[in-house]
């Protein structure tokens, strides 16, 4: 079966305009009669809820947190891209489109990416109107910086807390709609199943995390904006409650999962310090604008960094990639850090770290300027490591940060289940095999503010839905299945905590499905994951009751889903025998160790259909057609 991405015809720059004109509209007076469920309140979910509420739909919004303002979008530090060309440095919508396609290593859909670049300019306008305090120049205009491999300055930022400010802007817009009654907010609810009636997504079953009660909600359409699956790796830069459960439950109900092996390893994170560590902390990539990455030239050089003279240092990114230097894309920077450590030139106690050095920047710009740019990041680093980055280089190491894969969606952001739309990091569409820095915030807000209001209206206006209530048999069945699973988790009464099992899975994925992957390693992972899953269901310990706040029960359910999802992740990585973007197969590399794509055989999105736990998924391919850019070997030399 070939998947239909429903990309509109016509020249690339006109597609979105034409599609909006061709899309059906819902009469303003009728919108309140249509209910839309939105799961997740990060940038994508909150902006969608606010925008659809403003249009007059009856929106039901759900989040697992105690407040919608806490979604993990809030932790994004660096900034948000937009093709405003305020700096007159050669940026344009076409250049942002081209950079995103190239950065994604030619594994994304042209039409989606072009639309993303087009809407990027509206996002900044919208956020400024909301009162987002972006950084400004003294003349009052918006400040920009170059970010993550871009040769133009198109990144807007609010100190090192851009994600926080953008999310609060979207959250506040949503709260305004809550006050107006168009959006109903359901916090502390975890979606545990999608309800499908007559082939259409018509509702959800969720658990009230405070009372433990299962609840049913019916709607005309369902939107998932539930984020990525980086936490499958246990240690990641994601929040500890981020999870794959909503996406995976939808997948089990028929939504294809696309390109799960496209995971992003962020090059600048604080290294792992011990076994009890619960998460990794990102140091914004903007640090690479002024910091220089290096390792000692000799192996196992244990001298203090200040005792290592320039002649004994290897600024390997500047050496290998003279034109991009320290600003190479994330996947390239990460792999090179790993390579340096694999050669025995890593630093710190574990040997799993490289230096990020600000000495030159402080000498050149002065401590105050460096502090004004990165002060909060330096403080965070000092709090965690007890070391002062003003006086000695930071130690950094790559960590799982973002997942480009996700539920397959068409141009309208609809999954393979009619009515089930997927927004933000939870979908797979725009970043291909590698995401550029400062583009996640852009995509989340583009989907929520500027895409879904049009495409969802078209779905509602053109798709008749039957009148159903939460008494429908499909709701009974879904709730029953959810209840059985909760009971099963509580009844194992084994001796291992969900955390211990999660950590084991995470180590396995990091070792075998991490920064570089091999046929043998992936097969080892595929052999081990079902055993871990069996162990989980035979030996997990979930004390406490189901009828009140039970965080360990919530966590156990999520770990159970990681243990199913991980198998698909490894399966996808095994099947894609090429290297591209964040997916590096050691068997497929150029003589000098760069990722080698196989365009002839892999220019497609791999969309997997669920066939049962432990059963082989069925692969469906969406061929990727490049009419406007010519795939080339990425080079940052």
């Amino acid at each position: 079966m070939t998947l239909d991405p429903r990309v509109p015809s016509g020249p690339l720059p006109d597609k979105w305009d034409r599609h909006r004109f061709d899309s059906k509209l819902v009469n303003p007076a009728n919108r309140r009669k249509h209910t839309v469920i939105i799961v997740g309140t990060g940038l994508a979910g909150a902006s969608a809820a606010a925008s659809l509420g403003e249009l007059g739909y009856n929106v039901l919004s759900f989040c697992i947190h105690d407040s919608p303002r806490r979604a993990h979008s809030i932790a994004a530090q660096g900034g948000i891209n937009a093709a405003k060309n305020y700096q007159n440095d050669g940026d344009s919508i076409w250049r942002l489109f081209y950079d995103t396609i190239k950065g994604g290593d030619y594994r994304s859909r042209e039409a989606n990416v072009y639309r993303l670049a087009q809407t990027s300019v509206n996002i900044i306008d919208q956020c400024v109107a909301q009162g987002v305090p972006f950084a400004r120049e003294y003349g009052g205009q918006l400040d920009n910086r170059s970010f993550g491999g871009a040769q133009v300055s198109r990144t807007f930022y609010a100190r090192g807390q851009t994600g926080q400010q953008l999310l609060l802007g979207a959250y506040q817009s949503m709260m305004r709609q809550v006050a107006k009654g168009t959006v109903s907010m359901f916090s502390q609810r975890e979606m545990l199943d999608v309800v499908i009636i007559d082939g259409q997504a018509r509702g959800i079953v969720c658990r009230n995390l405070v009372t433990g009660k299962l609840e049913r909600y019916v709607a005309d359409a369902v939107c998932l904006a539930t984020g990525g699956y980086g936490t499958a790796y246990y240690l990641s830069t994601n929040a500890v409650n981020s999870n794959v459960t909503a996406a995976w439950r939808a997948h089990r109900r028929g939504a294809y999962f696309a390109n799960p092996c496209f995971t992003q390893i962020h090059p600048t994170c604080i290294p792992v310090s011990g076994d009890d560590q619960s998460k990794l902390t990102l140091m914004s990539e903007s640090l690479r604008n002024d910091g220089r990455v290096w390792v000692p030239k000799q192996q196992h050089d244990t001298r203090h960094p200040s005792d290592i003279p320039e002649s004994d240092r290897d600024y390997y990114l500047e050496r290998k990639y003279p034109s991009f230097g320290n600003l190479v894309p994330r996947d390239v920077a990460s792999r090179n850090a790993k390579a340096a450590c694999d050669e025995g030139r890593g630093v710190g106690e574990s040997g799993l770290a490289v230096f990020l050095d600000f000495k030159n920047a402080i000498d050149r710009l002065g401590r105050n300027t460096v502090a004004s740019r990165y002060g909060n990041l330096f403080d965070m680093y000092r709090k965690i490591t007890d070391e002062d980055p003003y006086t000695e280089p930071m130690r950094i190491y790559p960590a799982i940060h973002y997942t480009m894969g996700g539920l397959w969606v068409d141009y309208n952001l609809m999954s393979t289940v009619p009515g089930l739309h997927v927004l933000g990091e939870a979908n797979f569409s725009d970043h291909g095999a590698n995401r550029l820095g400062a583009s996640a915030l852009m995509q989340g807000l583009a989907d929520g503010y500027f895409v879904i209001p049009y495409t969802l209206a078209h779905y509602i206006a053109s798709t008749p839905v039957g009148k159903v209530t939460t008494d429908h048999q499909a709701f009974n069945d879904a709730e029953h299945a959810v209840q059985e699973r909760i009971t099963a988790l509580l009844n194992v009464k084994g001796s291992k905590s969900p955390r211990a099992l999660h950590r084991e899975l995470g180590h396995l994925l990091w070792d075998e499905v991490g920064m570089s992957r091999t046929d043998a390693g992936l097969k080892r992972a595929l052999a081990r994951i079902p055993l871990l899953r069996d162990e989980f269901w035979q030996n997990v310990s979930v004390p406490g009751d189901p009828d009140n706040l039970n965080k360990n029960l919530e966590y156990a359910g999520r770990v159970a889903d990681y243990l199913e999802f991980a198998e698909l992740l490894a399966r996808d990585a095994l099947h894609r025998t090429e290297s591209c973007g964040g997916h590096f197969r050691e068997e497929s590399q150029t003589p000098d160790g760069e990722a080698l794509r196989d365009d002839e055989n892999f220019t497609y999105a791999a969309a997997w259909e669920f066939r049962g736990v432990g059963q082989a998924h069925e692969l469906h391919k969406e061929p990727l057609v490049f009419e406007n850019v010519k795939p080339s070997q990425r080079s940052y030399k």
């Binding site: 919608p68 972006f134 011990g274």
Partner: protein, 248 residues
């Protein structure tokens, strides 16, 4: 190292709570405070006991989910630090640490160390926004905002909504939280249109939610993990008085 804990355990809002003693063993100095609690929970789970319920999410000090009283001080002894960013190197072997939930009428307890801070959302709903719909916004550079003003607005906007200010206040006042949002929006041109209605409605919502009044003790500023200044409360009061005249 080893630390002794006295942790507030309460099975639900209507149950009777009490401090329970635990010992956290094999604690590494690089562990965060919450990782130390994770390790205690691991031992409880291994014994089949209900682990200690506490909130946390990003564990990097930005989401505002975590927050407990540590020896009577919100987020613990370090200034400008959320409890997820507090590290055990701050403690010595054999120390005893008392851990309790936020206590405020407007933050009802859910379980153990977890409270419901939904009242903060109610305050924002009352006016903590600019009333602009998606689409139709003017070009972002059409609104010039001097750097100094943008920086001041950002100083207020960094609030993470954790509730430490309320927990530290003897009146359980949400004045610092509310005023930070009011200051941010009143400094910016985008916030002017609704300035006089916003301040009145947000202050009214704050009172209605059961938060106490501000008596200028400054405890909130002292414990705020983002270092939000007390001066915003003065701004809020000034804006409120201005609004009283403007709205007549």
């Amino acid at each position: 190292m080893k630390v002794h804990l006295k942790v507030w355990r309460q099975t639900g809002p209507d149950a009777t709570g009490r401090l329970v003693d635990y010992t956290a063993e094999n604690i590494a100095p690089d562990m965060s405070f919450l990782e130390m609690l994770d390790s205690v929970n691991e031992t409880l789970i291994a014994r089949g006991e209900d682990p200690i319920a506490f909130d946390s999410d990003c564990r990097e000090g930005i989401c505002g989910t975590c927050g407990v009283m540590v020896d009577g001080r919100p987020h613990g002894p370090d200034s400008c630090t959320t409890v997820c960013q507090l590290h055990m190197r701050r403690y010595n072997d054999g120390d005893t640490i008392v851990i309790e939930p936020w206590q405020a009428l407007a933050f009802p307890l859910i379980k153990d160390l977890v409270v419901d801070r939904g009242a903060f959302d109610t305050i924002i709903q009352a006016g903590g926004y600019t009333s602009v719909n998606t689409g139709g916004a003017p070009d972002a550079n059409a609104i010039l905002i001097p750097k100094t003003v943008a920086d001041e607005a950002m100083d207020a906007a960094v609030c993470i909504g954790c509730g430490a200010c309320v927990a530290a206040c003897k009146n359980a006042s949400a004045a610092l939280f509310t005023s930070a949002k009011i200051t941010q929006l009143s400094l910016l041109p985008q916030g002017q249109a609704e300035a006089s209605t916003r301040v009145v409605e947000m202050v009214d919502a704050m009172d209605a939610a059961g938060f106490g009044g501000c008596s200028n003790e400054g405890e909130c500023e002292a414990v705020c993990p983002k270092g939000i200044s007390l001066k915003h409360i003065a701004t809020m009061n000034r804006e409120y008085r201005k609004a009283m005249f403007a709205n007549r």
